[in-house]
Symmetry: C2
Subunit: 154 residues, 2 copies
């Protein structure tokens, strides 16, 4: 479980899709412009998100990306795992040839902790998150002051 700006890009982009879930596909160009991420970099990220089955692309004019399943069933952990491919290959794998056993010990402690974090992020879904009262408030405020995404994308 790695958590970097790469993961943040993916999560914020996915939140973008989740918020406009019912307004048709969102183009990467739009996300690129709004979030200041290069288009090609987003393409790379979405390539992975698509292969992970989290989004589906729609080609042609009016196309873009949409969530491939309900936001309620896409967790933050899903997204981060999709773009990070962190097959960790922690040392001392299998062979218990550590000098005094401590190596395997702390390694195991970390995996325990890592599982905890993973579990925590698995319980935060896009749908659940954007439906929290305080988050809904943020969304409402921004859409009141700024112009809507639909008009901006049209």
């Amino acid at each position: 479980m790695r958590l970097s700006t790469k993961g943040r890009y993916a999560v914020t982009a996915m939140l973008d899709l989740a918020i406009h879930e019912n307004k048709g596909p969102i183009t990467l160009a739009s996300i690129s412009q709004c979030q200041g991420i290069s288009l090609s970099y987003l393409e790379q990220l979405f390539s992975r998100l698509r292969r992970a089955g989290l989004v589906e692309g729609v080609r042609g004019p009016g196309g873009g990306y949409r969530l491939s399943r309900d936001g309620q069933h896409i967790s933050v952990a899903d997204i981060i795992n999709a773009v990070d491919e962190s097959f960790d290959a922690t040392r001392c794998q299998g062979r218990a040839d550590c000098q005094d056993g401590e190596k395997c010990l702390t390694h195991e402690l970390w995996t325990d902790l890592s599982d905890q974090i993973q579990g925590f992020l698995s319980n935060i879904t896009l749908g659940e998150f954007i439906n929290r009262p305080q988050v809904r408030e943020i969304i409402a405020n921004v859409q009141r002051t700024g112009s809507d995404r639909v008009s901006a994308a049209a």
Copy 2:
């Protein structure tokens, strides 16, 4: 909040110190050997942990590092923040000149989420973690099969 192998190294090393909290200082050489991390890299990490006030070094023979305060009061978030120095400087800072307001929106959603993760990891302290029944079991098992750290360090 960045979470990489660097952070894992730091956390596992700190868990090492926490487990042997009452057995005097632990040398970096010992941790290096046990966890397969280069000594100098550990020195760099502990330099930061020390400057963050999480550990204190003891020079000379029999020296090493120990926690500078009780493990109950050192959280995983403390450790990761100490070694990662992630002042993120997320774009669109202050100036709300985003094209359609969406940029600031998802940025804010991320900080919300990020605060959640931070809060979660702040609640997991070294002391609390290694005192969990299932974790204590791991520790007991390893110390039964392998030789003890004290004998290995002596």
